[in-house]
Amino acid sequence: MCTTCGCGDETNTRVSTLDGIQPIVEHQHPHDHAHPHDHDHPHDHAHPHDHTHPHDHDHHPATITLEQNLLAKNDLLAARNRGWLAGRGIRALNIMSSPGAGKTTLLVRTLTDLGGHLQAGVIEGDQETSLDADRIRAVGRPVIQINTGAGCHLDADMLQRGLDALDPQPGSTVFVENVGNLVCPALFDLGETAKVVVISVTEGDDKPRKYPHMFMAADLVIVNKSDLLPYVDFDVDECLRQIREINPHADFLVLSATTGDGLAAWYAWLDGSTSRSNSLTESLSDAH
């Protein structure tokens, strides 16, 4: 266990519905998903697989070449998630921000405003509690809470388990609210369709420079809490300029999930970010 921040192993990860107090036992669903049961169990250090020891008769010092990406396992699982989602026409949006930027508020507002026009479920990632999932559930949407325990980010394996539990409808949208953290989630591909990074005007316009990995990974950057702009020293143009230094291609929106200012552009982005989305209203489709 890391003694700096306690982050790390997945032994404490819990995936739960809000229907009961029981955590979901992995794969208690029928096996109608294409998820093979090869989750990584990172703590079985003593791999007793004799057949994987081709040279165990050879005790001379030797160099074994691996040439392997350290994120290969996660990337492989992410690729599998991506295929699983694509095969069902499901769009998964990985929503990331620092804690308190307004991810959940934005999702609640979005799901409320779009109502039946957007078929969507939510996977909530937090270290502890189901407080965010409770807020999503209050607006009547399917939601799964993943508690990472000591972990500081969601990874592809957790998303796979979350998708198993959520069982989203083909053609629907899955919002994945990552653990509030601008550092670690940037490195872990989940297999999502797009990465959305939310910053709020109370955080300061220098966030892109401070956390370049996150902003480099983003497909869309949302500046939230625009209603507070008159009261804080946040330069929207400067923020956009910093983002452009790191990521020339990300989309950029300024909005307030509380007042609703700018939300039309977010809904238009949602409508335009997938070619197969027929689930939004016709009235929204001409805005993009």
Binding site: T52, L66, E67, Q68, L70, N74, P212, R244, E245
Partner: protein, 109 residues
């Protein structure tokens, strides 16, 4: 502190290949743009490798230079961080190297 789970991936990947043979050295390549701090990897390695056949192995980390090429003017230049700004002022830059995050090889006894 994503370095801990990445270090766990490292130890798992090595153990898959080496089994119970004692590992005396691990050679990594970690670029300055990878988002992973070599020092944090070293810190985590001691913790994660404890009790495995990697315990006590020497961790050698090659830290290659980051290189970018400007899509506007074609200049190649060193990248020390992810602020991708060409001397010509353009921010439209290809990263040629520096994002490496690899285990290259291991030495077994």
């Amino acid at each position: 502190m994503h370095e801990l789970s990445i270090t766990q991936s490292l130890v798992d990947a090595v153990l898959e290949r080496t089994g119970e043979r004692a590992v005396t050295g691990v050679n990594l390549r970690i670029g300055p743009l990878s988002g992973v701090l070599p020092d944090a990897m070293r810190f985590c390695f001691d913790i994660v490798s404890a009790g495995t056949s990697l315990a006590g192995a020497q961790l050698r980390i090659d830290e290659p230079q980051g290189l970018g090429r400007c899509r506007s003017c074609g200049t190649e230049f060193e990248l020390e961080d992810l602020i991708l700004l060409c001397p010509c002022g353009s921010a439209d830059v290809d990263i040629l190297s520096g994002r490496e995050l690899m285990v290259i090889s291991v030495e077994v006894a």
